[in-house]
Symmetry: C2
Subunit: 156 residues, 2 copies
């Protein structure tokens, strides 16, 4: 075992496990609150919000596979959520010229308007729930997590 290896010691391992449990708890608390607020104020769900949030960052739209890639959920998962959002007139599937297999998913005008309203509240809710973090702290920890997620992803 290399001298620079930091994994494997019992104390560090326990500390990391505790950190993971805290991350898990925090994200569950926040998600539960978001879920409830989205339901009460917009009659929607977190997965629907996530899909619309992803699409809102791409005016040209996203292919189904790109969408599931961005959200890091399975392929088949997105199909159902997009189906329902499409039924509600919040997005459309646009055929891709030159590839009859694929389609671009794009928010409609209604979808963009609706998401804008939701996103504004969403940011406010997050701001309140994470009020305990100063802007500086938030940036530091965010950067720290970014590195971790990147390292982890690149390993796979």
């Amino acid at each position: 075992m290399s001298l620079t290896t930091t994994t494997g010691t019992d104390a560090a391992s326990k500390a990391r496990l505790r950190l993971w449990l805290r991350i898990l708890k925090a994200s569950r608390v926040v998600e539960a609150e978001l879920r409830e607020n989205l339901r009460n104020e917009f009659a929607t769900t977190l997965p629907r919000f996530d899909v619309m949030a992803a699409l809102s960052r791409f005016d040209e739209g996203l292919k189904m596979s790109e969408l599931s890639g961005v959200l890091r959920v399975s392929n088949g998962n997105v199909t159902g959520i997009v189906d329902r959002l499409q039924d509600d007139g919040l997005l459309v599937r646009v055929p891709v010229p030159g590839d009859r297999r694929a389609s671009l998913v794009r928010l409609t005008k209604r979808g963009r308007d609706e998401f804008a309203r939701q996103a504004e509240q969403h940011e406010r809710w997050i701001d309140e729930m994470l009020a305990d973090f100063t802007a500086g702290e938030a940036s530091d920890i965010a950067a720290r997590f970014d590195r971790m997620a990147t390292l982890q992803r690149d390993k796979t």
Copy 2:
């Protein structure tokens, strides 16, 4: 607006939103890996692991409502997972003397043995995924999150 209020400024709000998105991404990355490992190596799922982990901390067992309280998931949710774990012989429902409504859920010997094997690997996986954090960093951030989750919970 009070001079001590930290929410409401645009920059802080954006920093907190970014932090939340990083927390979300990190926990999804870690959960996806755990899910896959649990499936491949133990033919089980994360919710099943979570239930067994909660029960493993209480030799006397937990009532269904306590279990859903600890896990912070809905009441009805636990019923199904416990049903399946019971079918697999990993836990039992024990009647509570003096209250015919309730039952205590307890791991069986097989359940404890099986969980011990899973927990050992689980800790190793977490240690590897969070290897980028030193023990000190992990403790600091864990404490930070603990405070946040507590503040948030107490508000509700």
